[in-house]
Symmetry: D2
Subunit: 160 residues, 4 copies
Amino acid sequence: MTLRILATGGTFDKHYDPLTGQLGFADSHLPQALSRARLTLPVELEMLPLLDSLDMQDTDRQRVLASCRAASEDAIVIIHGTDTMRETAEVLGQAQLLKTIVLTGAMIPYEIANSDALFNLGFAIGVAQALPAGVHVAMNGKVFAWDQVRKNRAAGIFEA
Amino acid sequence: MTLRILATGGTFDKHYDPLTGQLGFADSHLPQALSRARLTLPVELEMLPLLDSLDMQDTDRQRVLASCRAASEDAIVIIHGTDTMRETAEVLGQAQLLKTIVLTGAMIPYEIANSDALFNLGFAIGVAQALPAGVHVAMNGKVFAWDQVRKNRAAGIFEA
Amino acid sequence: MTLRILATGGTFDKHYDPLTGQLGFADSHLPQALSRARLTLPVELEMLPLLDSLDMQDTDRQRVLASCRAASEDAIVIIHGTDTMRETAEVLGQAQLLKTIVLTGAMIPYEIANSDALFNLGFAIGVAQALPAGVHVAMNGKVFAWDQVRKNRAAGIFEA
Amino acid sequence: MTLRILATGGTFDKHYDPLTGQLGFADSHLPQALSRARLTLPVELEMLPLLDSLDMQDTDRQRVLASCRAASEDAIVIIHGTDTMRETAEVLGQAQLLKTIVLTGAMIPYEIANSDALFNLGFAIGVAQALPAGVHVAMNGKVFAWDQVRKNRAAGIFEA
């Protein structure tokens, strides 16, 4: 099997700009993260515009859906901001694509100490190969169906 | 569900000793790695003696088997050295425990730059929840049945 | 000799808050950084309020001056934000304290990949022991007199 | 001024080989470390054979001396293994070169968590610019004259 990974930005891929002192987006960390994972699994990495998920509009979610629909792979991992991960999952879930789609992200950027990004990437790549078709959110070591999950922002966790 | 994690050492948990200049074992990195993963999944971490897997004897593998047998959890992840991961998987596979047991490890220690350890931990925790009962080796982003895997030492990868 | 280190915040000590997604201040990274440096040099670490140097007011700079004045040590390193490092250096320089005072900071926070913080800390601790009395800014591997330095914000470097 | 940096290996530059599981030498970490330091100070990096300092022979030390002698710079930092740093310092000290030569190294390799390498590099680059001519060992945040220092191997520190 081949796995497709869609990069859409989010905290996972936030980058610190030393000139502005702000976190934003530059090159994605996914090529480095995937190299580090020492994969022999064939992976197709597709770069979509990198966005803070709070800035995602309907057209952005439709673009993610279009990429999932166009993909020849049956298993897709989407790297996504956590704040509106559920909304994108809903758009994908309602489309009923007959593919295994797993959304994940990070609470701490890949490049910052103690980041959960690499763990979550491995977790999502694991469940994407093992779960049946459907749209899933994979965070905090748990897998949630797309229509049975919410982010608890005060606690910084996903829950059913 | 609750997941059990057995720590047995291996490259994943190797630690650099500044006085001797050697890699050996001290405290396991698993508590820190699991904290970093921001799990809400209940996890039971069980520390077995930390060993280089080349030093593992039959009695060591029997201890791993005993821990799997005694576990009340149906899903178990074992952190193990890569060199004899297959041998331990075989001992566990032949015992036919009716649990989902996933062995993983690392090619680069958790505390060294570009380590695959955190990815592999996430990967194994993902597949351990999604796969049916059986004994699996989870490395390089792939899942192998215990009796259909070997380590290619020259290439540093696992293959069917 | 004993060295005093004053922590005042700045980029060096910025911390990512996973709940807000913002960089702010929590516990200083200096205790960890100093432990990592394996110092046998006696060091007295004094924590002042951790501030973004753009938020520093006259009273904040007077507090830094008061700490330098009160210090029993002849060598002092100040961890400071880069944006107004020169302004604080000026306040200290004009006070003519007859101590060796070295201001440094970081362009990338200690906890973010590729940070210059640990290098700069070592650099400042080195020059603070070797330079005569006076107030110096130590950044980019160079030492500047307090009245002959400015930050070039477009380039992100200090220059004469 | 321009600074010369001589890379000779040592723990600072040890690299983990995932195929053998051993620490050895590959590409030096110094180009990355220096880039990270955001230097505007002109630096000339000279790569000598990377060696464990326990493997250094007289000819190796003579090569280091020859490089120091041939250097057009008046300030030189040498990255060196800690075990025989004093021996090389002695060879250089007896040559009385009228340059400021600072030897440093690391107790934990640059690529391993909690390494002191980047701190020591900054520390040595600082004192190399500020000290008068002579041969110095810069470790543990302290500067030692070449003929008044020894490594306490049991404690893992340098002392007078």
